[in-house]
Symmetry: C2
DNA sequence: ATTAGCACTCAGTTTATTAGAGTGCTAACA
DNA sequence: TGTTAGCACTCTAATAAACTGAGTGCTAAT
């Protein structure tokens, strides 16, 4: 049952898959017999298809219907396809050219573009910066009771936090505090800041030691806040366009998964990191550990802006999605993103 | 045809509406006859209903079906309901208590809470700050070729922009630039910064005049960026739960409207501002100028944190939404938001 | 090994039938 | 005069029955 497919079987299977991708209907032997250049009668095809079914590549939804590909067939198809040359999708490139925008806008844009262009749903997650280092930290007085802490990390990720203080602080002390904190903490990653350092800092800060505590808290908050990553989605409505997903119950669940985003983004990001894989990953049906997605496929790509700053893009559609186009689109987007942000 | 409804007609109409809200099915005379405490036979009810139909408050989807309320009836119902006392929804309050979070998280939270609690879709837009003034502007050197501009506006709205510079700038000059810009621009609204001022500033900045230009641009960008407002949505999947909205074509359009957000937020924000209305607004069917929403109702509320800082919350559901509950929920949320952010 | 031919299967569509909810109208009633 | 009981009528929705056609599996011939 596990033996290799001979060439003819492969061609027939491919024909079945391609045809099903287009129509969404089960394909019969007669169709294949005409559709391919194999010049075989439908009867022959039937025999072959019968074999293929036994091997688990195709199934009949019911006796006397055509065959549809199983997840296994898709897997084979995708794998063989991945090796082929990249077909570029030029139009996308042009549309993204409004460079220099802020990252979040560009990412939103990416999500939208891909969704409208492919007619599937998309998820784009912003680069993660775990393990990132503090570049500098700037404290400014907002008013008598509030201090603004601007935190700049490597990769120019910027956060601000407002700190409340009980006693007013003089401009001079403010300056000292700034210098004190920066000389001690710059260049450190969050994990490297230990209790000893904090205590030492507080001692040196004298009367304003409580502020130091607040600043550290803010710092922790800011970096932590960064960790539960930002995610942009688009094209959820596309899901309803594919009858096999548009069942009310299921569609509702899927859209909900979509709104919650987190799980999706994690999936897209995690797997890729763990395999050191910088390329493209395809999950078909149950391969993704999300229940509501068992009738979908998901294609993910990772982009890397700097060492460690990785984000991901994912496209979700029916199992019979146009893998070819999706993969090309993703590749294009990845490259564009890296081109825009990699250096500068 | 426009004459007043007598009391009995009103009660019957109310009964029809309430019943339809619950069941989503057309309601017949017999049901009303039993459901109400009017002690009237179905025949009498029929006569009255016939009148109500003539007056345009109810219609039959087809001969020999019960009646369903028209938009006009809902309007009447909502108007009369609005005057009634507020029934509080306590549970919501508790859940929002995680104060002190950042605004965007709280707003997202509000959207989620309302969506899960009401089973409708929600839109929350962050406060707008048009016409807001600059509190101060802090420039810091990130590295040789980049400057970070932190812009703090009234209401502690904070933006940052990275500015690229060609020639390195000394710490001393940086300080001067900071002072120069702040002394000239603090307290001004964007509209008040004119070309003359910019020219004067540039002159005084000497060799770093180009940076001043960049800073002004960044300022403009930041404030402008703030204007195309942030919007959080949740519960889009709920739409599929109501058969009258779950038609694939329509649902898809609705969800798309939902993803685009902007139009919705504008609607929620604009109308309320224009009428100086601080309360709650209800759009039934065509009353909202968005095509995809003609089968929905939308209830909006505005919250005001400080003078001019207003945002809105909207709930979208089928026409037969539970207006009563929705209105209470919105009121609760408004109050909570104002409580959390109003002073501090 | 391939193919033509035929009997068989079964989802999906069409058509007919029925059941039930609801109405409008009339006539009786208080 | 307003209310009600009763009945004929209408129309949807549900159910059943009949039909269609795509597609298969198997057998026998090439």
């Amino acid at each position: 049952m596990q033996e290799e497919l001979d060439d003819r079987k492969k061609r027939i299977l491919h024909a079945v898959i391609r045809n099903y991708l287009e129509t969404g209907e089960p394909v019969g032997s007669r169709t294949i017999s005409k559709y391919t250049d194999l010049n075989l009668s439908s009867a022959t095809i039937r025999n072959e298809m019968s074999d293929l079914e036994e091997m688990g590549y195709i199934i009949q939804p019911h006796t006397s219907a055509g065959r549809i590909p199983t997840d296994r067939a898709y897997r084979l198809y995708v794998d063989s396809m991945m090796e082929e040359k990249d077909r570029e999708i030029e139009e996308l490139k042009g549309m993204l050219l409004r460079t220099e925008d802020k990252m979040d806008k560009v990412l939103k844009n990416v999500a939208n573009l891909l969704a409208t262009n492919t007619n599937y749903a998309t998820v784009v997650s912003a680069p993660q910066i775990r393990g990132n280092r503090l570049k500098f930290l700037q404290l400014s007085k907002v008013d008598e009771s509030q201090i603004l802490a601007v935190i700049v990390m490597e990769g120019n990720v910027i956060r601000n936090e407002i700190i409340h203080v009980d006693e007013p602080i003089s401009d001079e002390n403010m300056l000292k505090l700034n210098i004190l904190i920066n000389t001690h903490l710059n260049g450190l990653a969050l994990e490297e800041i230990n209790l000893g350092m904090i205590t030492a800092l507080k001692e040196q800060a004298g009367i304003h030691s409580s502020i130091v505590g607040n600043v550290i808290d803010a710092l922790a908050m800011a970096i932590k806040g960064e960790e539960d990553l930002e995610v942009y989605t688009s094209g959820a409505n596309n899901i309803l366009k594919y009858p096999e997903l548009a069942d009310k119950q299921k569609a509702s669940e899927l859209i909900q998964t979509f709104e919650e985003k987190k799980a999706l983004a994690k999936l897209a990001t995690d797997k890729l990191a763990e395999e050191g894989n910088t390329g493209i990953q395809v999950y078909i049906g149950d391969e993704a550990p999300i229940d509501s997605m068992k009738d979908c496929s998901m294609v993910t790509a990772t982009y890397e802006l700097e060492e460690g700053m990785r984000g991901s893009i994912a496209i979700i559609g029916p199992k019979r999605m146009d893998y070819d186009k999706v993969v090309s689109s993703l590749k294009t987007m990845m490259k564009e993103l890296e081109r825009i942000y990699k250096k500068e």
